[in-house]
Assembly symmetry: C2
Homo-oligomer: 233 residues x 2
């Protein structure tokens, strides 16, 4: 399951960039570093599966991980993507439930596994850590609530435009305004909550309307104001 490849680099093991940990004492941070385990995962690897019991959470230090739920007849619903600086699997761990999502690597990734015991130690010893963690979950909850409203009230067209803008804000653009995350049409459909064909059709429309430009999976933004208007934001 956990097909680690090569050895993680120094940078892959470095957790100093995580705001979550920036209020830890030197001792706490050392303990965290001692107890964590870092590995590399190639594209397609499943980090954990829906229904499994988790032994800790993961800090993403490189690459992109797709978090999704499996719905009716295996259709994926993408909940979010996690990139460098973000943590995954903490929700199920904290609520002491089985994993309710699956995490799959979509861009060669490096992850540090932090055991449950370490998490508990930090919660018990550093209120600022708990507080920070609370803020992270609360923000994610707001995003989830926002998305429920969108998906319940907006058209597929509006939601697709919104998802594109969301990707733009969360992932880098190159100097040509091209999205640096590569998703299949199906994955876009699984974010928006629609059929693959609908995404293909609407992307073509957006292209015809000069809002975006398409080259395979590369999406280049041409007219963000119009796209924003289409998204009904």
């Amino acid at each position: 399951m956990r097909s680690a490849i090569k050895r993680p680099s120094e940078e892959d093991s470095n957790l100093t960039g995580f705001q979550l940990f920036n209020k830890l004492t030197k001792e706490e941070f050392n303990r965290l570093n001692y107890e964590k385990t870092c590995s590399l995962y190639k594209k397609g690897t499943i980090i954990y599966r829906e229904g499994s019991r988790l032994t800790g959470f993961f800090c993403v230090t490189r690459g992109i991980v797709k978090i999704f739920k499996t719905g009716i007849d295996g259709k994926e619903q993408i909940i979010r993507f996690a990139k460098k600086g973000e943590i995954i699997a903490y929700r199920s761990l904290l609520s002491q439930e089985l994993a309710c999502t699956t995490a799959k690597v979509i861009d060669e990734a490096a992850l540090c596994h932090v055991p449950y015991q370490t998490l508990l130690f930090l919660i018990q010893n550093n209120w600022q850590f708990s507080h920070h963690m609370l803020q992270i979950v609360c923000r994610e909850l707001r995003e989830a609530n926002d998305y429920i409203t969108d998906i319940a009230q907006k058209t597929v067209r509006e939601r697709l435009a919104e998802v594109l803008l969301l990707l733009k804000d969360n992932f880098d653009l190159d100097n040509q305004n091209t999205l640096q995350i590569s998703l299949t049409r199906e994955e876009l459909a699984n974010m928006v909550g629609t059929a693959t064909e609908s995404v293909i059709r609407l992307l073509s429309e957006f292209k015809n309307d000069k809002m975006i430009e398409l080259q395979g999976r590369k999406i280049k933004f041409l007219d963000i104001p119009t796209l924003t208007r289409v998204a009904n934001l």
Copy 2:
């Protein structure tokens, strides 16, 4: 805005039933009780509004509060209901954001307001409180994620059946299997994310298929297994 009526009873001010507080020391609990403020609110009262700055969170000791977001052209999306023993407004407070939902009383309610300072004091002094709070948010986040998947993948028919079962599990039934929460068809529609007419039609269908019985807003469950099958659970 905060139209309090009468004086809250002894029971309305009693927070001992809240699991969230059951690991507090005697001193902490006393401080909580000293700093909280309880009031009664009649049906229709807005407790807080989307976009407002919150000064604390609320513990519901009686009645039912509807939490919703306002979407396109004022259409409500109901996020959840809070009843006795549950807390509201904590999400925005913890993430230090403006309220992203509105809370409205739908069944005469009693609420205790706990100031932000008190919340912060508890987080700083009692890790078990923080831990408990983390679990509450994490559970709500799972429910939100589940709902995103449902709303994205299920039909309106399936979702309505599911919502009815959800209400059954979260609110009392009388000895006749009748739901003790009274919602308008529009409110049901705003939970399911559909049009009021669709809810009316589907409820009639469910009635014809002998799954439920309707008398005004009262919903009586006749055949839960079938309803569960319809919900695709």
